[in-house]
Amino acid sequence: MKHLLSIDDLSADAIQEVFTTAADMHDVQSREVKKLPALRGRTVVNMFFEDSTRTRSSFEIAGKWLSADVINISAKGSSASKGESLRDTVLTVCAMGVDGLVIRHPASGAAQQVSEWVEASVVNAGDGMHEHPTQALLDAYTLQRRLGSLEGRHVAIIGDLTHSRVFRSNVLCLTRLGARVTVVAPPTLMPSGIATWSAAAGFETSYDVDAVLPEADAVMMLRVQRERMAGGYFPSAREYTVGYGLTRDRLARLKPDVPICHPGPMNRGLEIAADAADAAQSVILEQVSSGLAVRMAVLYHLLAGEDA
């Protein structure tokens, strides 16, 4: 594995191999010395052209715990804000001898494009509305730990699908692992052309949260991405919550112990009620620690071997 650009690049076996490594990395987190020497002497650059807290810090810690040297570059305060092109910025950084490039960019396909310019291994940490593969891997890893196996389990993904790269990567990842996926959104936030994709990829779509929730073995709430909306997708925040939020009432109608995920950051009270976010069955904080383990595993698989 040279790059991680899309979940589509990974077979079910490859995903499970990452999970096996992630499980070992998870154990490392509970050790007193949280450090493995596997990436000693390697350099990883986190290039974030969009805001991020958890993904960037998670990649940074993951790299450091594997003994790589990690450098963070964000668009603000870099030459990108002086008008340097993405290509020039990336080539400049890679000229310093970088082994791994973790990139987040508002343009869909940016990571793919960058991988064609550089020698380094590229990890897509979110490209526009396209994909966010490590998020999907950590979601599936978290759910697999809770549910044992995803084979035949019903996962409901609810929220702003149009703007969500998390949803795109998750559908690919979950269906590849044998889960049955139903995606739910208001008609205005359902991506156009989803009927064709869902038929080809084998997942279901629905506009009715209350019909889907009682059937689900796992619930994934997505953030309402106000920063990507020009407005007009739904009349008011209140109306969104009533129609599609995971409210206290809907929480009560879930099957017992159904894990609740949210990729964060949450809009509490909008797509997810505080009662649901803080419920005993919520795995939202577990997702964060899993994310670290999964990102360590991804960096290990990309950078440790001779093919890196």
Binding site: M1, K2, H3, L5, S6, D8, D9, L10, S11, D13, A14, E17, T20, T21, A23, D24, D27, R31, E32, V33, K35, L36, P37, A38, L66, Q112, S115, Y300, H301, A304, G305, E306, D307, A308
Partner: protein
């Protein structure tokens, strides 16, 4: 993605090699590194060095040696090195427990992340490390492996141990010592010293993994 097939191909290749690595009878690190032999070269048929009863006797002797050296099984932990050190450690643990009448802590140690040849190989999948609940601080750790060859696996294991705690002492028990050390490492307990040529292959098969107990050289 346009370059997906390339990734798939390279991945399949890596996972195939990993799988065969795990399934094949264990040879130690340097042996695995050796490039495939010339196809025209006919290696001699494998010669059995230890059969099932020999293996059993060797383990019984080692378990008594460990007890004698440690003056009992108090403060003793056996850690098996993946892959075939793990069942060996369990067997030694059972034998020691039977002699002493008290259960003995047995764990497993994966040293993949600590290897010095990570970079010259396709990426290896890691295996589980599990320690006894109390950890290893202040205890006598006996590392258990099947074959001692270059000593590099044990070097990696010592580094891994340093990150896991501070044992009172570390000892090494191996089923076969075939010589050709590349580091200043020696075993405290040896099932069989097996003089071998560098090019020979020593294979350890164990019932738990391979369905049969035997050590062969070819």
């Amino acid at each position: 993605m346009s370059d997906a097939p390339v990734h798939d191909a390279s991945h399949r290749d890596a996972s195939h090699r990993d799988a065969s690595d795990r399934d094949a009878p264990h040879r130690d690190a340097s042996d695995r590194d050796a490039s495939p032999r010339d196809a025209g070269d006919h290696p001699p048929a494998p010669r059995t060095v230890l059969d099932a009863r020999d293996v059993s006797r060797a383990l019984t002797r080692i378990s008594h040696e460990i007890l004698e050296r440690n003056k009992g099984s108090d403060d003793l932990v056996l850690l098996g090195l993946h892959t075939r050190g793990v069942p060996l450690a369990r067997r030694l643990g059972e034998r020691i427990a039977a002699v002493e009448g008290t259960p003995l802590a047995v764990g497993e140690l994966d040293v993949t992340m600590y290897r010095d040849d990570l970079r010259s190989q396709p990426t290896r999948a890691s295996r589980k490390t599990s320690l006894p609940p109390g950890g290893i601080d202040g205890l006598v750790v006996v590392l258990v492996d099947d074959v001692l060859f270059s000593g590099r696996t044990i070097r990696a294991a010592l580094d891994a141990l340093a990150d896991l705690g501070r044992p009172a002492a570390v000892r090494l028990a191996v089923l076969v010592d075939r010589g050709h050390r590349e580091l200043p490492i020696r075993a405290d307990h040896v099932g069989k010293n097996l003089p071998s040529a560098r090019t020979e292959r020593v294979s350890v098969r164990l019932t738990e993994i391979d369905g049969v107990d035997e050590v062969t050289i070819a």
